[in-house]
Symmetry: C2
Subunit: 516 residues, 2 copies
């Protein structure tokens, strides 16, 4: 019934349900509403009810509803509403605002919330906000930030701004931040949480239980108590916290502790850590430095972000759009980032023009040019497929060259097989195309030209498979990230090689057939 009503009627119905306190029905009705309808309804409510209603609506819609409400309800109410939200949702809301609105908006948030929201923003928006936000407000918010989050934010700032912020910090916090800043980008040190909960190995279960009762505020649920050597302070193992309920109180932690947890070193690459998390289904990984000291822990929710970043990075490489990874917003910056590969593509395309022109001159068959797009597209596609399979093989940790070579060998067979099928089909079709278009094939019969097209396509596809597979492996052996040569690089090289192979096939087959 609700679905059939007009806009005004729907609002009246909602207010009616609200007045009669039919919460379940109201909830169901709201879930059917558009964002602007919910906003109009919430606008009519009293302060406390607003918060209650908004708390229960779909998270998918909350950002849109608040965006609609932003100028329609008193600032004080809005402030209260915001305090109830998840920082990630507020960050989404801010992203939809323009620059002036954003700063006004930050004034409505508590310092602690500002800290939480800043961490969730994507870097292009964050950079703008850090430029606009008064330094006083920023430095107050920063006091609430965990050291690892702060390091992430500082990474987006210039050196002068970094120093200004560092100067406002409490000496303890500054020291912690500076320690983390020493780790290189994309290392385990930068994704770990420096806070860990640890006990010496000679402590008993009763000691540990008592110590845990002193634990006042912890953001994350504690999953393991880490066990360290009482003398050297070195990491020894971990006790799952639930075990502390089961074990007798007098038992020492050294007897309970699990020593087979995989550990990370703070300098390790985050991609490698992510691979291990996924492979061994890990929930928590202690981070241990070169002296065996526990310096932090990584939980699998940290890894989710790493995996998203890596997937973005791969996608950016494959399609030649580095702005995906950098999360840029401005068309000008995006264009600048994408331009280099496009220039390479264009120059390759124009080199192809020269090759085709030479073919037309050498063979004196103008119709030879019309099959170029098909042959190039097939070489490009096949090369891209093989390339993706091999880049992924490397990313999945099939690091052994023997393994990878067997993948490449398989890919070459696939390429050759597909090349034969497509080459034969293309030959047949192009023979018809020549007939249909009445293309001038000059001195050679159409059937020969069709044969040339088929053989060239087969050659181009087989070569593209080998090439698309070997390039990432060679790069990997040289210590480079195989993904850098993915996408446009392989596609353009395959375009070029397909054109050259077409040329060679053409000339040599004409020679073989004693025509040219």
């Amino acid at each position: 019934i609700f679905d059939l009503c007009g806009d005004q009627k729907r609002l009246a119905l909602l207010l009616n349900l609200e007045a009669r306190k039919m919460t379940a029905d109201l909830q169901a009705a709201l879930s059917l509403c558009e964002e602007h309808e919910i906003a109009a309804f919430v606008e009519r409510l009293k302060n406390e009810r607003r918060i209650e209603i908004l708390r229960n609506i779909d998270r998918q819609k909350i950002v849109g509803v608040l965006f609609q409400l932003r100028s329609k309800i008193p600032q004080d109410d809005f402030k209260k509403l915001l305090a109830e939200l998840e920082p990630a949702d507020i960050a989404d809301l801010i992203t939809t605002f323009d620059r002036n609105e954003r700063i006004l908006f930050f004034d409505l948030l508590s310092d602690e919330m500002v800290a939480d929201v800043l961490v969730e923003l994507k870097s292009s928006v964050l950079r703008e906000i850090l430029q606009d936000l008064p330094l006083r407000k920023l430095s107050r918010a920063i006091k609430y930030m965990a050291a690892d989050d702060l390091v992430e934010i500082l990474g987006d700032l210039g050196e002068a701004e970094q120093n200004t912020i560092l100067a406002t910090l409490h000496p303890d916090q500054r020291e912690e931040v500076l320690a983390l800043m020493q780790y290189s980008e994309d290392s385990a040190g930068l994704i770990m949480t420096p806070e860990t909960y640890s006990m010496p190995s000679n402590a008993t279960v009763a000691d540990t239980r008592r110590a845990l009762t002193q634990l006042k505020d912890f953001d994350d649920p504690v999953i393991y108590v880490f066990v360290t050597d009482p003398d050297s302070g070195q990491y020894l193992g971990a006790v799952p916290i639930a075990k502390l309920f089961i074990a007798p109180p007098t038992k020492r932690l050294e007897e309970l502790c699990e020593t087979d947890l995989l550990t990370a070193s703070p300098d390790e690459d985050q991609e490698e850590i992510a691979r291990r998390f996924r492979k061994y289904d890990i929930l928590v990984m202690p981070v241990v430095d070169e002296n065996g000291k526990l310096v932090g822990r990584i939980t699998s929710d940290d890894i989710l972000d790493v995996m998203r970043e890596e997937a973005d990075e791969d996608l950016a490489h494959f399609v030649g759009a580095p702005d995906i990874e950098a999360e840029e917003e401005s068309p000008l910056i995006i264009s600048r980032k994408r331009l280099p590969w496009l220039i390479v593509t264009m120059v390759t395309g124009l080199i192809n023009s020269v090759i085709i022109k030479s073919m037309m001159d050498v063979t004196t068959i103008d119709a030879i040019a019309i099959f170029v797009p098909a042959i190039l597209a097939m070489g490009g596609n096949t090369g891209m497929q093989t390339n993706a399979v091999c880049v992924r093989g490397i990313a999945l940790g099939q690091v052994k060259v023997s393994n990878l070579l067997s993948i490449v060998w398989r890919e070459i067979r696939v390429g050759a097989m597909l090349g034969m099928i497509c080459g034969a089909t293309a030959g047949l079709i192009s023979w018809s195309v020549i007939h249909v278009t009445g293309a001038q094939t000059g001195a050679i019969p159409p059937a020969y030209l069709a044969l040339i097209v088929g053989v060239a396509m087969f050659a181009a596809m087989t070569f593209a498979s080998a090439y698309g597979g070997l390039v990432p492996i060679i790069l990997h052996r040289l210590g480079a990230d195989p993904a850098i040569a993915a996408g446009p690089f392989v596609t353009t090289s395959n375009d070029l090689s397909a054109a050259i192979l077409y040329f060679i096939t053409c000339v040599s087959m004409l020679h073989l057939l004693h025509i040219s």
Copy 2:
């Protein structure tokens, strides 16, 4: 020094270090060794030392070392070595074996280990093994499997085999499995762990502590105690287990429990769940059915697999290689999976041939054909970039059409900007190309032809941006997965549209310039 020795010398050195019990040095030396060297060394050791050494070598190398050792040491020893390994590593090892070796190998594993290893195998290998493994051994192993893992494996089997296996199960286990099998593919129900730890809300902290001491075997660390309504059994909230140490023993769980945890419904799409995990940095999410009953929990390590799968799926779509996602090994099956898109690409390519031929006929300028590859490549690349950005925008949950349209509008501006730059450059270069190759431009001056090339490139790139951006949004609105039209679909359509635009530009400009 070690690095400089020859193979024989290195082995002697290792044995020497071993004999003198210099463990740290031995460890350091082993980390420098190749896999076959470690294997040769381990082969010479006594049984217990073998296990001890292997336990400490790099996990990256363990699979290779064991592969080398497989026929060189007695089966009994090998069996003991295997019992010490992680199932994920054994799964890797099995993947490197041929079909006969695999079955012999499974005989060396305990039933429980067989269960753990089967879960870790990729589906193409798993399918082969399930065909070869004696049903008796399989059904013994299956008794050790968690219901959710078993459902995953059954999904890879035919109906007859499914029934055979289901018939061998204990009635309780069968019921659990059948309940899970009702959830659709890719739903939350299939990634959740059905085991949860819950208490009624009127239980006290002391009750809960006592109950936890009864908890005998749990595979995963318990992080939350879920709280349910004592009458209806409905889910109410969760208590982080560490809180149970801090709270006074007489406090009831209802006073402690956190009600703001995000929950999932078992029918929800796993991609949507993953998005929420990542956005809100969630570690554990309770799964609640439509009656409010707690039916399972999802932890963030489950989500890591989902994210890998989704990334593979996207990559498979972008490069038109569906075998990536299906993890196929056989060249024949791979070829069959990739063929459809290649055929589409080829047919499009040949349609382009007809277009080009018509252009040559209409304009009577043969040189017009030689710029086709450049214009097509640029249109294809630009379209791919925009397409990737928009597909990703949708995946990141920017579901609002207004948001997406603003992305498309930005992309069109980027495309037009890049089109202007590249079009102008291409015009200049092609003018030179015409000069260099001495191409016959017929009745029109080279400068005009260069202008046509430039304008056509600009038009093709702008169109490709709009097209590459709008297609995924339209698909998304129609309820389809936007990624299905990514990659080859967009590339081939853009190839086609670029050729048509070139044709139109050409004819209309010649007309405008009063030449044709």
